[in-house]
Amino acid sequence: MKQTLAQKLIARSTGAAAIVGEVVTANVDLAMIHDSGGPRRVEPLLQEWGVGLWDTSKVVLISDHFVPGDTEEGARILTLTRQWAREKSVTFHDGEGICHVVLPEKGHLTPGMFVVGGDSHSPTGGAFGCYMFGVGATEMAGVLATGEIWVKVPGTILIEWTGRLNPGVVAKDMMLQVCGEIGMDGGQYQAIEYAGEAVRALSMQERMTMSNMAAELGGQVGLIAPDETTAAFLANAGAPEADWSDLHTDEGADLLAHHKFNASTLPPQVAAPHSPANAMPATEASSDVDVAYIGACTGAKYEDLAAAAAILKGQKIAPGVSIAVAPSSAQDQQRATNEGIMKIFEDAGARILPNACGICAGYGTDRLGADVTCISSTARNFKGRMGDPTSQVWLASPYTVAASAIAGRITDPREFL
């Protein structure tokens, strides 16, 4: 019987064949929680049930939402989070970056795992061939207590990218294009799988951007079949070796839908306020910008920083425009520092913000003010998400954000390459 990657991953977690549409109980290999939806929300339920964690070695806690604790509430929540981590003896990455980036960076993921995350961008783990999805705090408490979760075996929506990306065009542009074409409900809470020559050619951090934004398509997961690129990244991260040879969708397996895109003809994209589905080529957008933001799990990993810096090098940003950079992880920021990339941001007058969710999640003191127009490398531009309800957020790649900061208006970055 020909199987999709999603079916194979679920079958591994249950020990039985996975039939599309069936509800099965999966054994969870890893649960990831953060400071916002984690200890403060799950502990009261665990206490109500009178139970501890099912397996402390399979829980990873990462602080990223309230870091650096610059509000009274944030500081209080971080204190509670740290205390819980000590009491429960779970692996805790405190202030080291955003959970979806830190988890693979620290070697916690290997292909074939079934992983549940307490955050909506949890499909990011699909880039590593893990069945990883997000749940709310109540379901997470259930997972922490039992190590189990029910799942309806999804159909697969295959998103195939042929051709090769041109210089100045990246995974973020691919995803904005897909959001525009199939819409924010195009994923139908089924399994999205990215494939094709252009996807195979992407680095792991670029693949993470693809899987991350499966959330914006409404998919449960955003899978990419593991290959040598995956194995090399994970070996470097210190992850245990895994056998991924069978982790791919069989030729001829039943698909729910098959969408085809061509990377070779894709121009840089932007998404107008207030939806990632409002995608259009950057050359067709006309707006001045006040703030340029390089941040979030989606858009401030090492390669995102390198892309923005390649545009900003030797350039001055437009008068009246402010630029802020929140590197996704401390490790990526350190590498960017070593390579002179952070110096380029500093020379351009950028404010460097903590390795945290920050403005993207509307946390902290740097939220957007009234009537501010922002161009952002993040994933979501919903009304009011990043600050005042009158603020306007355009989504774009790190290249396009940097180019627009220089020009003071939305600009195709290829003018600066």
Partner: protein, 159 residues
């Protein structure tokens, strides 16, 4: 005998838990549940009644209160030709059975009906309509009233 409340396609979470009443808690949400498509719904629905919708029932946000409002009003089961994924998860985890029907032919608004969740049948107007049965592995959770009471029983029963 339970009665059927029949709705159309794409009933969204804002219809069930209107955003402007979110701050009022579950009582306020339930009082305004589905009023945009059927103003008398919350005042006429009775304990045990059945809500039936077309395709993509529960589309919209991930708010649990959409399913919670129906449950609060006493709705015993939601039937649709398809459900939005997160609503489906939320409904079952809150102890509200959500069942898929292959067709709504023969289902009439206001008609009396009975459901056999394990067999997967809806009997109304003398007809038997097939539903996807409630999966065996989550039936105990539904019987307990949802994930939270189910785990409370499981762990405190074992203690």
């Amino acid at each position: 005998m339970p009665r059927i409340f029949l709705f159309g396609d794409n009933i969204d979470t804002d219809q069930m838990a209107p955003g402007q009443h979110m701050k009022g808690g579950i009582e306020a949400l339930a009082a305004h549940c589905l009023e945009g498509v059927r103003s008398e719904f919350s005042s006429t629905v009775k304990r045990g009644d059945i809500v039936v919708g077309g395709k993509n029932f529960g589309v919209g946000s991930s708010r649990e209160q959409a399913a919670e409002a129906l449950k609060h009003l006493g709705v015993s089961c939601v039937i649709a030709t398809s459900f939005a994924g997160i609503f489906y998860r939320n409904a079952l985890n809150l102890g509200l059975p959500a069942m898929v029907a292959s067709t709504l032919d023969g289902i009439e608004d206001g008609a009396e009906a009975s459901i056999d969740q394990r067999a997967g049948t809806l009997i109304t107007n003398g007809r038997t309509i097939a539903l996807e049965p409630i999966p065996e592995n989550i039936a105990p959770m539904l019987a307990a009233g949802g994930l939270v009471p189910f785990l409370k029983q499981r762990f405190q029963g074992a203690a």
